[in-house]
Symmetry: D2
Subunit: 137 residues, 4 copies
């Protein structure tokens, strides 16, 4: 069962064409991932960065935008962990307008484990790997 973060489209998210500026969708994905860590995994992402010095920068990204979002729309961003590899995690994000079963946008990202002190690739730590697998079972 996938986790869904609830967000609101804000005044500032709208661009000159009157719809959500598309890079904001990627920001929504990130905010949803932050909520997912806290709510679904029970892990404080700021602490992962600061204490464990571990980050998950995005190395690949694909998104399909099916229809525009407007100011005042309430949205849900579904977060799914598709695959946890040795040093990478594949994510899937699906954006819904609240109460509408048709997705507004669908995205996939690949993030890699990064040692934040050395800026080198680092294996996904065990506590994270276990939290991800608890989620599936």
């Amino acid at each position: 069962m996938a986790y869904r973060a609830q967000l609101k489209v804000r005044f500032a998210d709208i661009d000159h064409a009157g719809i959500v500026y598309y890079p904001r969708f990627l920001h929504y994905f990130h905010v949803a991932m932050e909520e997912f860590f806290e709510e679904a995994l029970g892990i404080d992402y700021p602490q992962v960065l600061e204490r464990h010095r571990f980050g998950l920068p995005t190395v690949h990204l694909e998104t399909d935008f099916h229809r525009p979002l407007r100011y005042g729309d309430r949205i849900e961003v579904e977060v799914e962990v598709e695959h946890v590899g040795a040093t990478s995690v594949r994510w899937r994000y699906t954006v819904y307008r609240l109460g509408d079963p048709e997705p507004v946008a669908e995205g996939r990202t690949v993030t890699v484990g990064l040692d934040l002190d050395r800026y080198e690739k680092r294996a996904i730590p065990d506590f994270l790997r276990q939290a991800f697998s608890r989620l599936r079972s």
Copy 2:
């Protein structure tokens, strides 16, 4: 010959991991497209939106992030028009750190013509189609 927009990585572009927040790359793509309209096509994009009531929202997006950008980096964003269809334009963006031949990030987007009054699909107007084709010859 592709057009290159020159940008600087700003203080605010950096995230908590000390590197450019990945949605900012998509913003760089958009800024580079704005510069491309002005400098390479000789067309004022704000006027396209306001007078012609024509927009080009993004419906598909793919990006590979090869290496991080840091505060103070000077970058070039290469903009290429890969294909102009009846109602869509396919773009390619390649980000370079100034003086470094290896790309930092590579992206592709598909944008569709939109009537900004009716929010309906609209064919690429002739003046734009001609400007795009002058560019190739």
Copy 3:
């Protein structure tokens, strides 16, 4: 009794110095105002803009930043309407870290009524004036 909006400091809000980028505080003020309209006034701000074609752009702004905010901080933004004039509204915003009585930042703004079709000054509409005064009593 003042209204308080609850927000979280997001990954992207942090700048290269490791603290919240100060223009983000002004964004927090705006988001808190959007919540205030919905939750305290019971008025849908997007509808104010779209149906009533009425906006409240900021013409004056003062802020004191007492201490930094960091990634993961949960904050409350207190919103107070200090004065409703013929064509202007004066606001006060106070940012607290959750559970800490000392304010993190304090701001005042003056917004003026704007006709969004003509971009001319416009008196505060009665439905808004009444909603503001119900709040005080």
Copy 4:
């Protein structure tokens, strides 16, 4: 003689009311300050942060917004150092639409010297103080 940074109002800077979102002005101030360091002082601000571990967070801010900015506007942001104290610097920013002598917005900020390792107040370093005073003479 004051320094002026030249900027363009970008597509993403526009909000749902069709004008520049007011927190973006504060971002323009910061970008203008970054340019001022590089162009007027001849000092690389990223290096100030990274090598000297010295930052200048904003503790006070006042802005008057005289008229709106729109998409496509070219602007100049004038940067003046009003006062250099023991641990603080007072700045003045004036935004002009290119070719128009009437200011669009006027701001003042106070920034304080910060040790970025200890997050404690720190005196303005001599190399900075000297660069500021060369500017006045």
